[in-house]
Amino acid sequence: MRKSELFFETLALVAFVITVGVLALPAMDGLIMPQEPDEIIIRMYVQEYLGFDSNETVIKKGETVKLVLISMDVAHGFIIPELGINSGIILPGEKKVIEFTPEEEGEYTFMCSVKCSATHSLMRGKIIVEE
């Protein structure tokens, strides 16, 4: 192999490896959409896929949190009946932010309020408020 040929082959190999490195894109979620300390990102899928993602979070009593709700596939809704929180309809691709301050400890169930699939009624999760 001639020297120049070796040089071009190496160059091509490096370019190739960098290109294949794009496969790591899914791992960059935390970089592209970082979750701030006072934020909880909840992505909403139909229950057959992931349902609420994530569907369990722990927060501190008396500290204000922002619930970032994103509908990922079809229209969903988000309610916490015990806290009186209702997001209304969140259309697919839409993002809604709900700010609230939990006053009491306990476990609060949240659920989807808009019929989204055959297993809509199973789409739920919980927020645990700790001391």
Partner: protein, 667 residues
Amino acid sequence: MRGKILITAFFFIFIISFVMFPIGFSQKMVTEEPRVIEIEAFQFGFEPSVIRVSVGEEIIFKARSTGVVHGLWIDGQDIDFALVMPQTAARSLDLPLYGETVIALLEPNKWVEVGPVSFDRTGKYKIRCSVGCGPLHPFMMGDIIVESNGNNYSFYGLGFLGLVTGVGTTTYLWRRKPNDEMLGISLKNEIDLLKIRWIGPLLKTMLQWRGIHFALILPNLFIFMIVLASAFLGNPMGALNFSIVLVWILWFTAVEFMILFLGRFWCTLCPIPAFGEWLSRRRLYGVHSLRKWFSLNREWPKPLSNMWIAALSFLGISLIVPWLVTRPIVTGLLFAVLIVSALVTHLIFKKRAFCLYLCPAGCYIGHHSTASLFAIRSRDKTVCDEHITKECIKGSPSGYGCPWKRYPGGLDDNIYCGQCFECLKSCPVDNMTLKLRMIGKDISKKVTGKADEAWMGFIRFVLAPTYFLVFFGSYFWIKDWGNMGTKFGANLPSIGLLTPTASGFDNWLLWVLMLSTIILVLFPAIFFAFSWVAKQAAGDKKIPIKQVFFALNHALTPYAMFLWISFGVVLITWDWLYPIMGFSNPMGWGWNLFGTGGIAWSPPLVPHLTPFIVSPLVFLGLGLAIHSTYNIGMNLFGEHQRAIRATSVMSILYILVALFFIWILMG
């Protein structure tokens, strides 16, 4: 002279009909009370799926959803609403809504009232779902057919134009002097692209650079990697997933246009066989100087050296196409299968065996490239034939011997030329070049054909209207058959797990049986009958009917190419926003890299003009099919009068197909 008068008359009629028919014959209906039409939306369609109204009639649409949230968009009207099913939890809880609410329809069985609206031109308008509702959401449509006194004049007008095009082309071919010209452009005309001033030498330097192939594949590989990552891990909703929107909207449309202007240029860019090729060559960039390949270098088995596997796998893919183009995971699996089989094929067999005999996309791109404007050819065939060393076959230090197992110097067909440009590099006498020529040049030389290529032609030809009906039609039950779904929301369970419902699977089997019978048996039988009649009409007794059948089949190629281009045009004008959104949000996880994410609905561009943009393309295909038939007829029967009699028989079939298309678009 006579030809010119005919052409002028033809264009005159064309323009008159285009303008006059939709408007001229329309009579507005005046009613006192607006008519109320109830529409129910469900996954994935509207009931009623076809609504007939009159021009000028005032209509109030009352719509509701019977399942998840849908939208209501009516083409040509300023209407975009969300349809919400009575909410379960929120209604019983009676809670205040947080923040700004888009729609607040909490009463049970609430109907959304839209209107009154009216349409002032006859024709076909679409009702579309404007809120993401599931995998097939982009194809959830209904039809409003606007008539005047019970007549859809736009449909008549376009249908009449189809008839005029077909009969006009045949008459023109009949009346003109027998030569190989079409509207003054000879099939002999060719442009040697490498001899154009300024551009030619530049192009030549580029194509003779060894790195060009690698440099062209690399950006595609980059995007392909995003596609793979997104297909397996991204959002399962097709319209929000990069793999789906890029491949099945952008790529699909781009390839149809590429076939017309650049032949098999996609095969130059394709990253799928690249891994195998690089590995077997032991080089990414240069020509390897070793004798050994990293491959067993076996010969591909003779009985399989044809298009059958590729053509049938293309049909197989088309049978699950509503799944393929709406479920990222299915697309991902398809690509995984293609990459692995390309790799394995390269490691076992010589050269581009995968691309030639197995690749389902390669076979249709190749088949249609026969009608392309672009070709790689030798400048002078005799130079090639007399040149004994044949570097284009054996290879030289500057280029590999043709990886597509062709003799580049003798090429007279694009079908198996993958445009890797190796022959331009290896040719020591500078005899290979790129040529621009008329559509149908290769076809005009055909005297016979092969069964595998003929059936590939049938598969592609019949699938074009099928795809139109499935994706752009209002008949939700066809969508359900292909989607293995049912009318009542049983479509969503299958987005994550690939498990269709039992009744959906039954319907799908029916669809498979129906579609493959039409494509593999029924349409070929009709075509056979037409070619038999054409042979009789030509008064021929010598040529076997089988040869006539295979030879005439080539005329389907330019027609099918333009039908698919029109499919691509509709696809890109209706779903143009999804790919733009996909680049900002490749995983469908709500990212917004370039500020175009966060869109879930792609309003169609100029939807009311779609039939008028698409039908000229259909007519162009029709004209070219008739012209090609005439040229093939001349080759077969050798005489103008006999060729034109055969052509008129075949043109009946082609005109009927054009009318069917106009019906899909307008009627």
